[in-house]
Amino acid sequence: MDLQIVLLLGQDGITSGAIYALLALALVLVFAVTRVIFIPQGEFVAFGALTLSSLQAGKLPGTLWLLIGLGAAVAFADISWALRHHKMRRVPLILFYNCGVPILLAGYLLAVSPATLPQPVQVALTLAMVVPIGAMIYRLAYQPIAEASVLMLLIVSVAVHVALIGLGLLFFGAEGSRTTPFTDMSFQIGDAVLQGQTVLVVVASLVLIVALYFYFERTIYGKALRATAMNRTGARLMGISANLAGRLSFMLAALIGAFSGVLIAPITTIYYDSGFLIGLKGFVGAIIGGLASYPIAAAGAILVGLLESFSSFYASAFKEVIVFTLIIPVLLWRSLTSRHVEEEE
């Protein structure tokens, strides 16, 4: 096989591997903190990519209406909680975050023409719309049943996934779309061409991973999330509420998803349902890490990316089969080597 092809495939594999690694981290995070197997993780990728491309097409993305709707529902739930617990003082803040901010965002988007905005602003707006949706979904779908079994939480995940796919179709239609590349630079290395966009994806993923590392190792909120993952009762006794930890982890998961979507949107055509398969590959990486170890999950995800890109070249009809078959020996190996841990009550 010739070097140029290897370089090309390697480049491709590492690019998608970097994205899968980000998603694997999000899945491990969400599972460790809340015990939720977050099937809809990939939908945030699609929503990120498609929201950005809507903005670039000069349209008002449906994501905005979803944000406003969910915000109103969260405000309703939180305010009725506050009324029952005589915490009237919280009401203005609840209204501001859940209704005020989305409406301000809508006002801004209606006032300007989004297509003409500079690209970084478009990306910021996309994240501002998609990221809060993560926390809102936690509040509405998972928080009321936070103590339920892993299976019950998984069932809810499937329901949320289906709902988001449906909304995606409604908002963005069945056509796929791409966004404008962030850069059209390319580098010549010997005979091979290194695309600037590819470098950008890898670098941006690394930056995000390093930022997350600092968040978890150096900030008190990051430590609080890790503490919740380690010992729920201990964390509650420190005043780290399960609700706070849940909302925070879902917000991070949504951020990671939307950010990944924005990164790959210029190099891959994204459809309303593309997120699922992308998320699933991140999931294979996360499974390799046993839904517990971040570094192994990330390495597993890179492996998935490489495997996918090489198999798409040598056996393109079987590329998905090969990737998902990887999970079988991994699961076998894990079940043989790991002690069985009883699920916490």
Partner: protein, 253 residues
């Protein structure tokens, strides 16, 4: 009985519990518990294994649903008491199982003790952590070590230190002397006695009845879910029923 009055009858009541009962499913673990504790007071609850001592502390902390009337810092509490709400108002529990964060350093465990104060806008955690290191110099030596690898005694110190970083108004300790060497037990009880100078109220659950009665102002004896005896600790320590069941033959006064 004149037991409603503690050492200092004018100090404000921190916690007042009337007719508390707690059930695990159909089994009632606590019945008709009345208990109160004032600022600066050490109150101890002694009793045999399975009497419901840990259940009592868990219920007070909001970890278990309870029936009855609880008021804390003069505020009447509804039926669904929230742990987070109580933590915010200075109630802290060192649970029987300690619940440390095993894969985090000693320092991070202490830091998280200050999480809620940090969130409420206080930025004095470094100072309070230093105070804890003064009380337990061993923790300072071990500050980079993972909590999960600490010795039993060091874990107890860390659990108590983590609670102190929260600057509690009511500190509840579930068997702080569990599994410790006599010398360290002395140290721990000396620390507990010294803490009341800061005005904190301490609710102490102990197997080590002798030490607990010695350090506390008032005591309750809990047996099969009910309070069977209560009174000033000095009086209880002389009560023949307490001597027979909890102080044993070794007690000669």
């Amino acid at each position: 009985m004149a037991t409603e009055l503690g050492e200092n009858p004018v100090a404000p009541v921190v916690l007042d519990v009337r007719d508390l009962s707690v059930s695990y499913g159909k089994v009632e673990a606590l019945r008709g518990i009345n208990l109160s504790i004032r600022k600066g007071e050490i109150v101890t609850v002694i009793g045999p294994n399975g009497a419901g001592k840990t259940t009592l502390l868990s219920a007070l902390m909001g970890l278990l649903p309870a029936k009855g009337d609880i008021s804390y810092l003069g505020e009447h509490q509804g039926t669904d008491r929230q742990v987070e709400h109580l933590v915010r108002h200075g109630m802290t529990l060192v649970p029987e199982r300690r619940e440390l964060f095993g894969e985090m350093s000693v320092e991070d465990n202490l830091l998280l003790g200050a999480f809620d104060r940090y969130r409420a806008g206080h930025r004095d955690h470094l100072e309070t952590m230093d105070q804890v290191y003064d009380i337990f110099p061993r923790l300072l030596e071990r500050r980079e070590q993972m909590a999960g690898t600490l010795s039993g005694g060091e874990r107890q110190m860390l659990a108590m230190g983590r609670a102190l970083v929260a600057k509690p108004k009511l500190l509840m300790l579930d068997e702080p002397s569990l599994g410790l060497a006599p010398l360290i037990i002395k140290e721990i009880f000396r620390t507990i006695a010294a803490l009341t100078k800061t005005g904190v109220a301490i609710l102490l659950v102990e197997q080590n009845a002798r030490a607990a009665l010695h350090v506390s102002d008032r005591a309750y004896v809990l047996e099969t879910g009910e309070i069977s005896l209560e009174g000033p600790s000095k009086e209880l320590a002389r009560d023949p029923r307490v001597i027979e069941s909890y102080l044993g033959l070794g007690h000669r006064h």
